[in-house]
């Protein structure tokens, strides 16, 4: 019976160690590098998509250059919003 107790105690310690390692690994360098890349492209992509939509709608409704300007700024706003959202998510974690 003594053996069993010893084994379960050891198991407990081992499990705790694994948990500690996992918690320490959360903020590793490579992951933060990835996050930085993610945010930088998000900002650009929304501007591109917004401008493209504006361009297409302009061609469609024949309202050059009104909608392309509007949608460019909407794209910028969406990009900043995206970056804020990702940053907040990171902060909460």
């Amino acid at each position: 019976m003594k053996n069993f107790k010893e084994i379960s105690a050891r198991l407990e310690i081992a499990k705790k160690n694994i948990k500690n390692i996992q918690e320490n690994n959360k903020g590793s360098n490579a992951a933060s590098f990835g996050k930085a890349l993610k945010i930088s492209t998000e900002l650009v992509a929304t501007v591109v998509v917004g401008t493209t939509i504006g361009f297409l709608l302009d061609n469609w409704f024949d309202t050059k250059p009104l909608l392309i300007i509007c949608f460019f700024f909407i794209g910028v706003v969406a990009g900043i919003r995206n970056v804020f959202r990702s940053a907040r998510k990171m902060y909460e974690k």
Partner: protein, 244 residues
């Protein structure tokens, strides 16, 4: 000696030209390297799971590590309900990783440095996630575009912004991978060209840069595959659980 840094990205056809209904379906070097990476992945997983030993061999260890890595990533970001999408995300991750890594070998071709390849992958993810969202939640999936606690006056503007940010997902996903791979390989080639043109006298400094950049590029190659897979998980999580 061809010193043009963009020369490495040239797509040329291997074998005869195939035209099907106006589509040029010729076998190119890009197709060749995609097939090579697919075959390498299959071989790795086949030999890695062939002999299941308690003390794993190196190849079994690599296979098991890649499995646990992706499984843990899905569990952490998308929750247990996304477990059924493991095969898709695992294939996506391994394919992007192998394409990136094979591109690091001299004389090879980097498939992921072409935006059409990365955009096709991102479009599969985007369309798939949208379909999953609509199947799972029906028309309520559109609630994704209406954040909570927004005054009604601002709603039309917010909805447009949300739609643009939703549509920007495949763009940012594909541009990120493509731009990183292309920029990195161009830099490597530029510094390699400096080594040749400066010769024995001045070529040592760019050679050192080249070595350092190779290390950085291997990190980026892994990281981009990881980011691609993890963002797929995050989008999947949005579609499955519908709240931000």
């Amino acid at each position: 000696m061809n010193l043009n840094p963009m020369h490495q990205f040239e797509v040329y056809k291997i074998g005869p030209e195939i035209n099907l209904g106006g589509l040029n379906l010729s076998f190119t070097n890009a197709s060749l390297f995609m097939i090579i990476s697919a075959i390498l992945i299959t071989l790795l997983l086949f030999f890695g799971t062939k002999k299941k030993e308690l003390i794993p061999s190196k190849i079994q260890l690599i296979t098991e590590m890649s499995y646990t890595f992706v499984a843990k990533m899905i569990n952490d970001t998308a929750g247990s309900s996304a477990k059924s999408f493991f095969p898709f995300i695992f294939s996506l991750f391994m394919f992007v990783l192998f394409c990136n890594m094979i591109g690091m070998l001299p004389y090879s071709f980097t498939v992921t440095s072409h935006i059409i390849v990365t955009f096709a992958l991102a479009a599969i993810v985007f369309i798939g996630v949208t379909i999953i969202g609509f199947v799972k939640h029906g028309i309520r999936y559109l609630e994704l575009f209406i954040p909570k606690g927004v005054p009604i006056v601002l709603l039309p503007l917010i909805i447009v912004i949300e739609i643009i940010s939703y549509l920007s997902r495949p763009v940012s996903l594909s541009v990120r991978l493509f731009a990183n791979m292309m920029a990195g390989h161009t830099m490597l080639k530029v510094f390699g060209g400096f080594v040749i043109s400066l010769g024995l006298l001045g070529g040592w400094l760019p050679l050192g840069f080249s070595v350092a950049l190779t290390g950085l590029e291997i990190l980026v190659a892994f990281l981009q595959a990881y980011v691609f897979a993890i963002l797929t998980c995050i989008y999947l999580n949005d579609a499955l659980n519908l709240h931000h």
